[in-house]
């Protein structure tokens, strides 16, 4: 799918060139001159605080507290070494990754069939999917946390990864269904029928035909589930005590008493908490672009 931009098209017409000609240089920006700097300025604005955090993580404690320099003068890896030699610190990341992964699997496993049902059949309440999704975003975690804790202690799964993963399903499943519904609705109904005529059984059709078709959608969905589960701290903190403590709790605890804890170590923890997010954006970037385009169809 290609997107022609208005002014570029006009420009080409004026010059008498063919529209499809490759005019990459003149097309970089849709707006006239001053405005083409806006995205750059915005990106710098977004990146500066992160940059500060990253350099802090490579500085020694003395340097952080005594001089402000744009690059670390006495570069050190001591902060990262401290984290990776302390099981409590690095296991926190493993814990978080584990429950996020479980949550992703659970949400997708539940949401794909549900989204299919929402997309293909009509029943009571199917028009209110968006509101259902909103409602789940509205439920204050603070109050859900208490009944959930009791519920999970009855089941005996407090302080396990699966507890956090299940709790996060509260908000990841609705958003997953909502996004996937859009993608499945974009797939023509005829595909289902043709597959049926060709003798595919329903599960076979689902796995062999439907899922490959909506892969970009699954990518986008996984991306969103990841975001919501990874950044959430309140429930994760609440439902864990020792064995499944997420990195967020450690940062929260240490961050409350700024100055009592080594800042370099804290920055390094924060940087490590950012990395998975950046990695996953990088991996799904193509799917994301496609997802944006496809999501528009309906």
């Amino acid at each position: 799918m290609s997107f022609e931009v208005g002014s570029e098209f006009e420009l080409d017409m004026a010059k008498g060139k063919s529209v499809s000609s490759d005019s990459r240089k003149s097309v970089m920006y849709y707006f006239r001159n001053p405005k083409k700097y806006i995205p750059c300025i915005y990106v710098v604005f977004l990146m500066l605080p992160i940059y500060f955090l990253v350099i802090c993580s490579f500085k020694t404690e003395f340097e952080i507290k005594n001089s402000i320099t744009p690059i670390p003068m006495l570069g050190t890896l001591a902060n990262y070494k401290a984290i990776f030699s302390d099981p409590q610190s690095y296991m926190a990341f493993v814990n978080s990754l584990l429950y996020v992964f479980m949550n992703n699997v659970l949400s997708l496993g539940v949401a794909i069939p549900a989204a299919y049902v929402f997309s293909r059949y009509s029943f009571l309440g199917d028009k209110h999917l968006f509101f259902w999704f909103l409602a789940s975003r509205l439920t204050p975690p603070a109050v859900v946390a208490i009944p959930l804790f009791q519920f999970y202690s009855t089941l005996g799964i407090v302080d396990t990864h699966i507890a956090v993963a299940l709790a996060h399903c509260l908000f990841t499943v609705p958003i997953a269904v909502w996004i996937l519904e859009g993608f499945i609705s974009a797939v023509p109904r005829e595909l289902d029928e043709i597959a049926q005529i060709d003798g595919y059984s329903f599960p076979h059709f689902f796995i062999k035909i439907l899922i490959p078709v909506i892969t970009p959608g699954i990518g986008v969905t996984a991306f969103f589930c990841f975001i919501f589960s990874w950044v959430e701290i309140l429930l994760a903190n609440w439902l864990t005590t020792i064995d499944a403590v997420p990195f967020g709790s450690i940062i929260l605890r240490a961050g409350m008493a700024l100055g009592l804890n080594p800042l370099g170590w804290l920055s390094a923890m924060a940087v490590l908490a950012i990395i998975p997010g950046v990695l996953i954006i990088y991996f799904v970037r193509n799917h994301l672009a496609k997802g944006f385009a496809l999501g528009q169809i309906n």
Binding site: E4, F52, L53, P174, W230, A293
Partner: protein, 270 residues
């Protein structure tokens, strides 16, 4: 279909539990005493609740007023093709992927008068970011929220703009529309749907803002940055007033649902 039941259950059960809590006096989460509408009356008569509510509304209004126009402007000025597009999308999406507690911590470090880059820069000019000052504390929280969430508006609007077929621009060209005209009559109607989603999401999230004020100002100075979710959390986890907090959250919940519904209706009819 079983999936559907499971999914439905995951949202409905906690909600029902909250309703159950809200009409009882709960002790240690086990003993329930029926108190009817007592908690609702109590909450609706307390000044603290209205103060917090007003504060939360003010915060949402300020944040939306800054983020929506800014987000549209940036989305419009992003290139739609070219090698830089993936770079922009990735960098713009990064703030959304940062755990909220890290965002709060990061900004607390940055504005620190001695150790933070921005804070110490200001100290050179004799200025200091004083979180005990009401205006400063609010500006910092709003600023952090803008930094964190404008990207969401940008990405959604950008995806809406990408979907506009070229012929609309040609038609506008034939009608000799100026830049504002193109935006008002071509782009705005086309991105209305995604813009609505962006505004709704931003409204809800800013209405439930919790972690950043908690980490940066801890509700201070005084109680000037205590928002609804934080006071809710306080009632629930420190005073163990489950009934009252459940009642508060139901009121809170209905306010958001009502608002979202009105917003949704208004925007989809236009």
């Amino acid at each position: 279909m079983p999936a559907l039941i499971l999914v439905g259950g995951s949202t409905i059960i906690p909600l029902l539990t909250i309703v159950n809590f809200s009409v009882h006096d709960v002790f240690y989460g086990n003993d329930f005493i029926w108190v009817g509408s007592k908690w609702f009356v109590e909450v609706l008569n307390s000044k603290v609740f209205y103060d917090t509510l007003l504060r939360t509304f003010a915060f949402s209004a300020i944040v939306l007023a800054i983020e929506v126009p800014l987000g549209i402007l940036i989305a419009l000025s992003l290139p739609r093709k070219g090698k830089l597009v993936p770079f922009y999308i990735i960098t713009i999406a990064i703030p959304l992927m940062i755990p909220w507690v890290v965002v709060g911590l990061m900004w607390r470090l940055i504005i620190h008068p001695q150790w933070g880059s921005f804070g110490s820069l200001l100290s050179l000019f004799g200025l200091q970011i004083d979180l005990n000052n009401l205006v400063t504390a609010w500006s910092v929280i709003v600023f952090v929220d803008v930094w964190h969430w404008t990207s969401l508006v940008v990405l959604l609007c950008y995806s809406g703009l990408l979907a506009i077929p070229n012929m609309y621009y040609q038609a506008a060209r034939i009608d000799a529309a100026n830049r504002w005209g193109v935006f008002r009559y071509v782009e705005l109607p086309k991105i209305k749907r995604v813009l609505m989603i962006a505004i709704l999401l931003r409204f809800i999230d800013s209405f439930m803002v919790f972690v950043e004020p908690f980490v940066i100002t801890r509700g201070g100075p005084g109680k000037s940055t205590v928002f609804l979710s934080q006071s809710l959390m306080r009632t629930a986890s420190q005073q163990f007033d489950l009934g009252q907090s459940a009642a508060t959250s139901l009121i809170y919940f209905s306010i958001i649902v009502l608002f979202s519904w009105v917003l949704y209706k208004v925007m989809s009819e236009r």
